[in-house]
Amino acid sequence: MKFLILFLLPIFIYAHSLSVTSSYESEELFIESFYGNGNPCKGCSFGVKKENQEVFKGTLDNEGVFEQVVKIKAPFTVHIDGGMGHWADVEIEGNEIEIESNTTNSTMQSIDETKIRQIIRSELNKQNSKIESLIEKNKSITEKMLIGLGYILGIFGLWQLFSRKKEK
């Protein structure tokens, strides 16, 4: 029995779920992905899909992060493939304010107000993604498992209740 217990030690427990947070602002795509136990999705491949067509693909770094300027028109979907049955999707919605292509005006020395807003929003979005990522990491896999066990109990409990009534 000692052998069995050894295999059930928490060090062998790996969380299955794959989480992903992403933001897209000023053509900069930020993706962070990690497993339910908080381990980063190292070197995982991802694809950016727009209208069911892959428009961009890449891989996450050793920290499960991708941060790069990518020219894609939102909205689009980021699909992470963690391998061995792990996957996750995140939707990026379209920007409310379009980015102006010519931001430098030779006659104006000061930075345009819209540009300042975009820069602030871009930085805030990145920070928000990181905070969301931290919140998600803190969600325990145990919590999800307990929910699953609750469903099993509920489904089969109702089943037994109805089948007993039927037999009577």
Partner: protein, 196 residues
């Protein structure tokens, strides 16, 4: 290892669904109210045990305990596994809804192999050998099922299918050894209805 969402071809999804449907209907119709709790227990076992991974090199495979599920439930294994896999796909993002029928069929056939192996060999071979085979063979059968489903979906999955087969070999060995200890314990306490 379960097959992810969007991996299988429409043909494989349709075929596995058509094969699985009568098995599930038959199981639901024949399931006696006294056995519902047993199905629930083993469905919960699969749901939880699947989160325990065995690291193998750069990858990992998870425990399945198909042998135990098979000998305890027989043909009802399909129902228990369907519920567990559905909840895994929906809650933990493991496997997928489109690949649910193929995953249920693969694991279910594995469990059923364990059931018939146990039935055929329990009086012919020593308990240690039978228990090892009941743990070992169902995992191999399930991994062959995964490989076949992948191969029929696309020619690009040849390497993935080979990896699935090879990666499950150590897991099958570990589960075989675990089953030996599990059988000894169950025999010791003479679990009602198991007749070991």
């Amino acid at each position: 290892m379960h097959i992810s969402e969007g991996v299988l071809s429409a043909g494989v999804i349709a075929t596995s669904s058509i094969v699985l449907a009568p098995l599930i209907i038959n199981s639901i119709r024949k399931l006696h109210s006294d056995d519902v709790s047993k199905v629930a227990l083993l469905s919960a076992l699969f749901f939880v045990i699947s989160t325990i991974h065995l690291p193998i090199g750069v990858t990992s495979v998870h425990f399945m305990m198909l042998g135990v599920i098979g000998i305890m439930l027989g043909w009802h294994s399909f129902t228990a596994l369907l519920i567990a896999l559905l909840l895994q796909a929906m809650l933990i993002g493991f496997g997928g809804i489109s690949s649910l029928s193929a995953n249920t069929l693969n694991t279910g056939i594995g469990a059923l192999t364990g059931f018939y192996l146990f039935k055929l060999l329990k009086d012919k071979l020593p308990t240690v050998v039978v228990s090892f085979l009941v743990g070992f063979v169902p995992i191999l059968v399930a991994s062959v099922g995964i490989a076949v489903a992948l191969l029929f979906s696309s020619d690009d999955f040849v390497i993935v299918a080979q990896t699935a087969l090879i990666a499950h070999l150590p897991l099958a060995l570990v589960e075989g050894i675990m089953m030996v200890f599990l059988f000894k314990t169950l025999q010791k306490y003479q679990i009602k209805g198991l007749k070991l």
